[in-house]
Amino acid sequence: MELCIGAARLSSGNLQDHARELAIVERCRKQDVDAFGKFVDSYQNRVFGFVRRMVSNAEEAADITQEVFIRAFQSFHRFDGRCSVRTWLFRIAYNLCVDRSRKVDRSPTEVSLQGTFEVDETFDVPDSRWQPDQLAIDAELASAIDEAISSLSEKLRSVLLLHDKEDLSYEEIAQMVGVPVGTVKSRLFLARAHLQQHLRNYLHAEVS
């Protein structure tokens, strides 16, 4: 029970649990499997969400997310604490996604017969069970947002997700991606503008 509460609080980035997070990180650095389990509980959904939007394939995203945590476990002793553990983890995830996209670019393209991920399984909108019409609208909007994100280039998509979804700072993203802060801001601006353009029908409907 305590494990779940801790995990939920850690994932929300609450300052009150900063000390607890530090303790967990310290134990993870000593290759404590139990502590690493708590660490995974805290971040698994966020990392999976980021990776799924980066690779647009749920199965592959699940594999890459596992690889992210395996890499994190194996190299936790090298984590020096200069950046936050969240930044460090998302850097591993970002690098793996970039590696994967490079491999895909080099390999011949494959056409999936199963289509893309199923929206109904992926998005679980809370507290709207008794409003089927609202549920349908939310699902459609979520699907449209996902579609708009996947239509972005990898550079714009990564900056948009890391900043707007994962709350990383411009400096952290710049360090992670390896570009100046100004470039990060430009990419973020372009990504949002593209998203706005893509979702204009939904935005007008929302306003009206």
Binding site: Q31, F123, L161
Partner: protein, 140 residues
């Protein structure tokens, strides 16, 4: 566009709306099967690490012992060589002089004052070749 302009544009209502929209998207969830698979992979990674550590724990002292043994055998089987043992020492001038003096003293002690054995031998060899003083004139 300056950095300040860019910051202002990023804070515009339209851009903020996009940010809020992304933030409000529901969180993805991974399945229990996924978590189970991850736990298995972590367990196997731990096992591999422990095996390596154990192997290193056994191997490193064994390697050290082996090296020490090889070194000891090499030291024992190799014959001790002294730089002066194989070659005779080259006599110096002083030692030659001393030796010559000792020889002459010995000869003097044995043969008395006068001739020493070397001188006798030398005089004999010289006379054997030609000595006008010892020619027997009567026999001529």
């Amino acid at each position: 566009m300056t950095d300040h302009d860019l910051d202002e544009r990023l804070e515009s209502p339209a851009q903020s709306q996009m940010r809020e929209m992304l933030k409000s998207m529901p969180e993805d969830t991974v399945s229990m099967a996924w978590r189970s698979g991850l736990n298995e992979r972590i367990a196997s990674a731990v096992a591999v690490k422990q095996r390596r550590r154990r192997f290193a724990w056994v191997l490193s002292p064994a390697l050290g012992l082996g090296l020490a043994g090889a070194l000891a055998i090499t030291m024992l089987t190799k014959a001790p060589t002294s730089p002066n043992l194989g070659q005779p020492a080259k006599p110096s001038i002083e030692s030659n002089l001393v030796a010559s003096f000792r020889d002459s003293m010995n000869y003097t002690n044995v043969t008395g004052v006068g001739l020493n054995p070397d001188e006798v031998a030398r005089s004999r060899s010289i006379s054997a070749v030609y000595d006008p003083d010892e020619v027997d004139f009567d026999s001529l």
